[in-house]
């Protein structure tokens, strides 16, 4: 009796989340699962069409395009971001004058609202008057039309993603400051050089933080939307910067093909779950947790 009362008390306290979970996750997810097999224009009743959407998806060149665009972006932007963040964190961890100032300046861009950063970078990338091409002009280089040249739209997006690396820098920096000094001293006594210390002490010690950031990155990279949508709606020339969620949004809210859009969102969910599980599998070999196991 008391145990039942306890369960009810517990459920009551987590009630807000439980109701929210049912309303905004469980029901929509189930509905999306059903709609993925229907034709639905948002006005008339959904018509069950079985695997028709899946057949369309398989031969939809735009689906494959946004899939490969997003995968490419993830494969380039995530590792580059991790390396840059780690490098900056290592530098900031050294005893260097003005550390707080440099840290603040590197962190500042992450505070800029996404919409504002999209607009700022449209202006930065402006072919004639943008800061980047003006600066390149001073060096005697003629910069490309970043956002209207099909070869440069994707690199522009990657460059822009690196601008907001400050978040990761702060996390890695805290990880580095947790590394016991004695480890470095011991390594120094054993004659380990700077690179050896980085490879054998620093990297393993911050690997949990790197792993966490990579997982979050995988989950979010598939949802990239606001910035490219504002800067180059439709993905620019050749649709080379057309990302998965942008296509999903267009299919649903521009073309009113809600059934097909639900299938697209289901595939996206599947990809994210798969990659996250893979990352966790891999982490058992690559990530070092202090105090756990050996």
């Amino acid at each position: 009796m008391t145990s039942l009362r306890r369960i009810l008390t517990g459920l009551l306290w987590i009630g807000p989340w439980l109701i929210g979970f049912a309303l905004f996750t469980l029901v929509p997810l189930t509905a999306a699962g059903v709609l993925a097999f229907c034709q639905f224009d948002g006005l008339r009743r959904p018509i069950f069409t079985g695997l028709e959407n899946a057949r369309v998806l398989w031969s939809d060149p735009l689906f494959w395009k946004v899939l490969s665009n997003t995968a490419t972006y993830a494969a380039v932007a995530l590792p580059l971001g991790a390396i840059l963040a780690l490098a900056l964190a290592v530098l900031l961890n050294a005893r260097i004058p003005g550390r707080t100032l440099w840290r603040a300046l590197i962190f500042l861009p992450t505070l800029t609202p996404l919409v504002a950063s999209a607009m700022i970078w449209m202006w930065m990338f402006n072919g004639r008057y943008g800061l980047i091409n003006q600066a390149l002009g001073v060096l005697g280089v003629e910069g490309p039309n970043w956002l209207s040249d099909p070869r440069w739209t994707m690199p522009s997006m990657v460059l822009l993603s690196l601008w907001s690396v400050g978040h990761a820098v702060v996390i890695y920096l805290a990880g580095l400051q947790d590394v016991p000094r004695s480890l470095y001293e011991a390594a120094h006594v054993d004659g380990a050089g700077a690179m050896a210390r980085l490879w054998h002490i620093t990297l393993p010690m911050v690997s949990p933080a790197i792993f966490f950031n990579v997982v979050v990155g995988i989950i979010f990279v598939w949802q990239v939307f606001a910035v490219p949508q504002i800067m180059i709606p439709g993905g620019g020339p050749g649709r080379n910067a057309y990302f998965y969620t942008m296509y999903l949004y267009d299919v649903a809210f521009r073309y009113q093909r809600f059934g097909y859009a639900c299938l697209l969102s289901g595939v996206q969910l599947g990809i994210i779950l798969l990659l996250t599980v893979l990352a966790f599998r891999l982490s058992r070999r690559l990530v070092h947790y202090r105090g756990v196991g050996g």
């Binding site: 989340w17 979970f21 530098l91 861009p109 800029t112 996404l114 919409v115 700077a194």
Partner: protein
């Protein structure tokens, strides 16, 4: 020791260069917002306008009063433009008001509900708690697009499309990540405190309200701060749910400056961007520790 001094010099040089590169777009934004229209299309790599002594006047025109008429470089008369804060075409102040309404309701709901749920996940022992907790952690992986379409139709049935409600009501049910964060914090509060309070005759609500909440102010501040930033940033929500200019949030409203007929008024757009970014920068300067500690705890112990 000499080689380490050289290494430190190199590290400093790299850091200065990188910091400058990171700050450059923001400086460029502010610089552009201080220039008159005729300066925008003359390629000059300067932070201040050509007539630097008129910077304050230009700033006033771009941000506030606008400009009736002006002469361009060749002495040709041009039609003027409206300042960001007083423009009748782009209601910046209205968008700001809408954003603040959503932020206030959403943050209040999010902080309170997340704290209640976190209490249920940490301070009460009950069978099945861990199952629900695991389920909640798993939901953090579900991306918004996966539930976006059916959720849109739920709100449509309720008649909420074209109102601010879809932007704040869901927050009143708490958020998985924030609940997780607060639970971790509550777990660190010694059980003896709750025990002593119980002996004094306090029930769960009393313990929550009088003991746990006051002790958790730093963690609650982190949740409020991050959720407030989320609301300030949210683009896809307003884009889907709002259909009338009068209810647009800042994130959506800024788009009106973008070139509708060719030339984007970059000086005005950058003034608007500066206004949207400034509150967050000020918040950061005032509460740098909360920020950094928040990111660190969410990033590492997550």
């Amino acid at each position: 020791m000499k080689s380490s001094r050289i290494a430190r010099g190199i590290a400093l040089a790299v850091l200065v260069a990188v910091s400058a590169a990171f700050a450059a777009p923001l400086l460029w934004m502010v610089g552009t917002s201080l220039k008159p229209q005729e300066d925008i299309s003359t390629a000059r790599l300067t932070l201040l306008p050509k007539h630097a002594d008129r910077t304050l006047q230009y700033a006033r025109e771009n941000y506030y009063s606008g400009r009736p008429r002006f002469l361009d470089d060749k002495g040709v008369e041009r039609t003027g433009y409206e300042g960001v804060l007083t423009s009748e075409n782009v209601h910046f102040v209205l968008y700001l008001r809408n954003t603040l309404i959503v932020a206030l309701l959403s943050v209040t709901g999010m902080v309170f509900s997340s704290a209640v749920c976190a209490y249920g996940f940490s301070k009460i022992e009950w069978r099945g708690r861990n199952v629900f907790f695991g389920l909640m952690l798993a939901t953090m992986m579900i991306p918004f697009p996966a539930v976006m379409i059916p959720t849109y139709f739920v709100f449509k049935h309720l008649g909420w499309i074209g109102t601010l409600r879809p932007l704040w009501v869901p927050a009143c049910f708490g958020g998985a990540f924030n609940i997780f964060l607060l639970r971790q914090f509550f777990m660190q509060i010694p059980a003896e405190l709750s025990e002593a309070a119980r002996l004094d005759g306090l029930g769960h609500w009393g313990i929550f309200w009088r003991i746990i909440l006051p002790l958790s102010r730093p963690a609650l501040a982190v949740v409020a701060l991050f959720h407030g930033m989320y609301v300030w940033n949210d683009f896809i929500g307003p884009l889907i749910y709002l259909n009338h200019q009068d209810l647009f949030t800042l994130a959506l409203g800024l788009q009106f400056y973008q070139a509708q007929h060719g030339g984007t008024p970059w000086n005005l757009l950058m003034a608007a961007c500066s206004l949207v970014t400034a509150p967050l920068v000020m918040l950061f300067v005032l509460s740098q520790r909360t920020f950094i500690e928040g990111i660190v705890t969410t990033g590492i112990k997550g």
